[in-house]
Amino acid sequence: MRRRTFLTGAAATAAVAGSGSLLSACGSSAGSGVPRLDFLSLAWQTESVKANKALVAQWNQRHPEVQVRYVQGSWDDVHDQLLTSFEGGAAPDIIHDEGIDLTDFGFGGYLADLTDLLPAGLKSRIPQATWDTARFNGGVYGVPFLQEPRVLIANRTLLVKAGVRLPDDTHPWTWQEFEDICRELSHHGGGSAERYGTAWPMSSPVSVTLNLSLTTGGRILYKDEGSGHTEVRFGTADSAFAEMVRRQVRTDRSAPSSALALGGGDVLPGFFAGRYAMLPLDFSYRQQIQQQAPKNFDWVTLPLPVGTHAPDGGRAQGVSPQTLSVAKSCKHQQAAVEFIDFMTQTPHLVQLAQGDWMPPTGTAALRDPSLTTTKLGWSTGMALASHLTASPALGSRGYPEWSDKIATPALQQYYSGAIGLDSLRGKLVRDGNRVFERYRE
């Protein structure tokens, strides 16, 4: 029995058998027969919400033939909301999400393959490597439009006092240098005078570990291009980054174990108080830092340290970009793509990037003078943006399960010192591959 009929059968037992399309907002009209598209947006910072709403208003003014309705969603629950509305057959038409979340929806047949719908202008606006972040299962399931690298946010006063050379885009630190400097900056006098060179907020340890393992030439998740199958490996290059974090936490004590369970925002008070000298954070945290930092706090955005003997000079970081997708159930897919095209015009991309404090994906937008300014560290992040590559987790079926059941607990245990490297490898690879095997059909 097909799933659809199975579900409908169950629903019909209790209810009037109405046609599914009657209520789905997709293709519903805005009163006067004009098709109306629902745009589920996840913008949440004040400026970003404003920019999104302004663009939607602009579109509606210019396109009386297709109206778009702005629907506010939240990163916190978007996956559950989408899954339920997809399964129930009443999904929004245009969907703001992130690369990794698209995998299962794409494979599940809920997202439209945009390959033949994308206008040439939009295709050429975004570099090929960035399109790879939304390409899997033989199709393109979203338009990547914003992406963010990880950077080092540092307390300049502490660094200058210690006489440390500040790195710049052309001469970043190596991880080795970073470790040495962190050790130098740490001191443990006991009580509140404690200071750590850095802190690793790892509320989601797996994505950080995967994405930054690229800087040391690792991947951990390897995808076979032919079959699309994922395999876990954990060789020296794959584990170098994880080993470093563990050294910092356990051996050098230059990073506190207490931060491991925290999110990026939770470590900021300690940073402002001088407890941590540097924080490896997502680029957009600058917004919060600029807003919350005490008046005389002197902070600076530095490029993330690089690995040695790694491709791209060790600057490559994995990234899962923010995307715009079209639901398969949408009745006006072409119009929806046109709206996405409108949203990602270079000047609009620049607006959205400013609103979210993160680099855009468009080649021309990346060069926009308002984003390449040295103010608030923009230029540092923009320089890193060209080195971003698709996160190893992208397009990999079974990643969520591997991440939740195997990798997250194993990495948490490893970083906090409960298990050693061999045991970690055993869990990630042996148990991990067993999970991925289940997704091979």
Partner: protein, 301 residues
């Protein structure tokens, strides 16, 4: 049982000796003080997050980033409230919530009382099936029911409708309402009903004029539960309402949350204070009714 044995003797208590009375009074006073102290501890434990929330709502971003948080904001500001109101339609959402929660609480209690009465007073297959349903519906994972429920509502044209959401809340709070009300109904002496029945009252009439007044504390507890559950409920509200102008308060609150636990703390706290107040006000008004005394009065008769 000593209370029963001594029953007759204690009918007219003699005044105790004065020295013993003084000691007893002192002991009682110490006991009172202990009670106040214990109550204070409870209130502090239970209510301090509210104080913290209010204080957060009036703090500037700099203070929120401080490593030495204070209970009172050093430089109180209304900016968070301003931002919260600017960014999200809070008042509108509060009205939506009030409507959905208010209606569903009243309806839920209104249909639960007769049903609970039937389940207690009739020994039947239906009562037993009802008990089974109450327990299973609370045990089975909600996540697996949401999708079929969504499809039923879609076929009834009740998706993206506040009425539909209200109905879901009614059904959602019914198990608790039935379960608890059954206990309270059982405490009502059948003898009272017998009298009414002999006077020729119908079942519905007996229920209304005899049983209902005796249930007041239980009814109030159930009403509180239903209202608050619907007011705070988040997931149904999220998936069942699509139109921005229909969204409820708890859904709106998540719009202040970013990815991976990030939150726009100040405005979130400001909005949350506003989301918390109606329930507290509701409690303050209803709490008197939690005290019955009617029961004992009725039994005495």
């Amino acid at each position: 049982m000593s209370a029963t044995d001594a029953a007759g003797v204690t009918a007219a208590p003699a005044p105790p000796a004065s020295a013993g009375a003084g000691r007893r009074k002192a002991r009682r006073r110490a006991g009172r003080a202990g009670q106040y102290l214990a109550l204070l501890c409870y209130v502090v434990f239970l209510a301090f997050p509210l104080l913290w929330l209010v204080s957060t709502a009036f703090k500037s971003p700099q203070e929120l980033g401080s490593v030495h948080p204070t209970w009172l904001p050093k430089h109180p500001t209304l900016d968070n409230f301003r931002t919260a109101f600017d960014e999200q339609p809070l008042l509108h959402a509060a009205l939506n919530s009030l409507m959905v929660a208010g209606i569903s609480a009243v309806v839920s209690v209104a249909i639960a009382v007769p049903a609970a009465y039937v389940m207690v007073r009739f020994r039947s297959l239906v009562s037993r099936a009802g008990t089974g349903w109450i327990l299973v519906s609370q045990m089975f994972p909600l996540v697996l029911i949401i999708i079929p429920l969504f499809m039923v509502l879609k076929n009834l044209h009740l998706v993206d409708s506040r009425l539909g959401l209200g109905l879901v809340y009614v059904v959602w709070t019914l198990p608790f309402a039935l379960w608890m009300l059954q206990g309270y109904v059982k405490a009502v002496p059948v003898s009272l009903e017998e009298a009414a029945a002999i006077d020729g009252c119908s079942r519905a009439r007996t229920l209304r004029s005899v049983v209902l007044p005796l249930l007041t504390p239980g009814l109030v507890a159930t009403l509180m539960f239903s209202f608050v559950t619907a007011w705070n409920e988040f997931f149904f509200g999220l998936v069942l309402l699509k139109s921005p102008e229909k969204q409820t308060m708890s859904v709106i609150l998540t719009h202040f949350l970013g990815a991976e636990g990030a939150a726009d703390l100040g405005p979130l706290a400001a909005a949350s204070v506003l989301a918390t107040l109606p329930s507290l006000l509701f409690f303050a008004l209803l709490q008197r009714r939690l005290v019955g005394g009617m029961m004992t009065g009725a039994v005495k008769g």
